[in-house]
Amino acid sequence: MRRVAITGIGVLSGIGSTREEFWNSLRAGRPGFAPITLTDCSQIRFRNGAEVRGFRATDHFGERQTDFMDRFAQFAVVAAREAVQDSGIQWSDALRETTAIVTGSCVGGQTSEDAGYVELYRVGRGRVHPLTIPRIMANAGASHISMDLHISGPTFTISTACASAAHAIGQAFGMVRSGASEMAIAGGSEAPFAFGMLKAWEAMRVVSADTCRPFAYERNGMILGEGAAMLVLEPLEAALARGAHIYAEMSGIGMSSDASHLTQPSPLGAARAMRAALADGGLSPEQIGYINAHGTATQANDAAEASAIRLVFGERTSQLPVSSTKSMHGHTLGAAGALEAAATALALDRGWLPPTANFATRDPECDLDVIPNAAREVQADAALSNSFAFGGLNAVLAFRARRG
């Protein structure tokens, strides 16, 4: 089994359209929430979202190319280009053929799907755009990355709701670790701001009417976000040999299913995933100096996640910094695990822990050190990133710092 390094990161988010903008916002504890502009929210109970501001597809793609791409696929390619450029990799034909691309997406090309239904049911036209299917398919992000970067190795997409990208990164990690792939581009992308999708979230009553306050007593739901993040993973030895910058080592993945309820999270399932990630990464609970929480700011998730962390870390829990960066970039669904893996790797690289923004009052049901509102200058040795999906499917990623 080989050790695996993260050598490239690309991010497109509501708090920054590049990796460094994203990090600067996390470091400053600055949320990216504003009234949603991509669709009319006057008939929806919530208004705010974390949109990627100023994104113009034609800044990145030719017009002919954009015809074939939903917004979520455009995000995937832009983030992958940044990650690959950041890694400084020199491509050979052999490397292109053994590099894997694994992406996560929960809802696929919602903008295109919604537009098709408007044509059919509201406008009353008898036909939809012929590219509707290739735009909405959840694997479109992975396919477009492959075509754009001429990478022809194993390429696929995982859809496990809000854990999609974490499962995707975990699979890519496993392929690089085992030797099945010499390199991987892994992450997730999502663009859920379509009217029908937002009505469905409204009906579920888990979206806040004002802001996202993870782990706080005042928490009243998530704020939806869009964006993408991609990581470049390669064997540690290869990264060292070519003198690449290593953000962090990826050291483990832990997965579990609650096998209990479709939407009510189970602390036991989450705790099993965290323990599995520690075991897979050869880490003891004492080595973990930071957890990037799933932290959606729903009543149910945050209390269950706090219980799960206590099950795994016991009395050390009160000294263990935990933050939810969803308080800034929002809940990006199938991309969330990737944005949060990027945030965790950057935290280990930069020696700062991002905060939980918008935090007001402590909730005894979420008895954690949530790094309230201000980033903390701490060099953690190792960290976890939690993703717990609707459907009870959990994925936890484990990372080790390279510096310190």
Partner: protein
Amino acid sequence: MSDDLIQRVLKTIAEAQRLPLEQVTLDSTFEALGIDSMDGVNILFALENEFDISIPDEAARGIRTVKEMAEGVDKMVAARVSN
């Protein structure tokens, strides 16, 4: 609250939860009926359709019994009529 409104609330809850109507009474707690948070959201949806009302998230939060739910619906129906 009118008897008619109470009966419609009980029936809506029973149907949404797929329970025999006689099991759902004004004194039932959600816990006793096995209604969890997602079931609660389903019931709110059914009540919104039944009474043609829109129940805000804040109003729905913290409701734990059939009586509280019926009282909430009663207020909203009254507000709709007076508008």
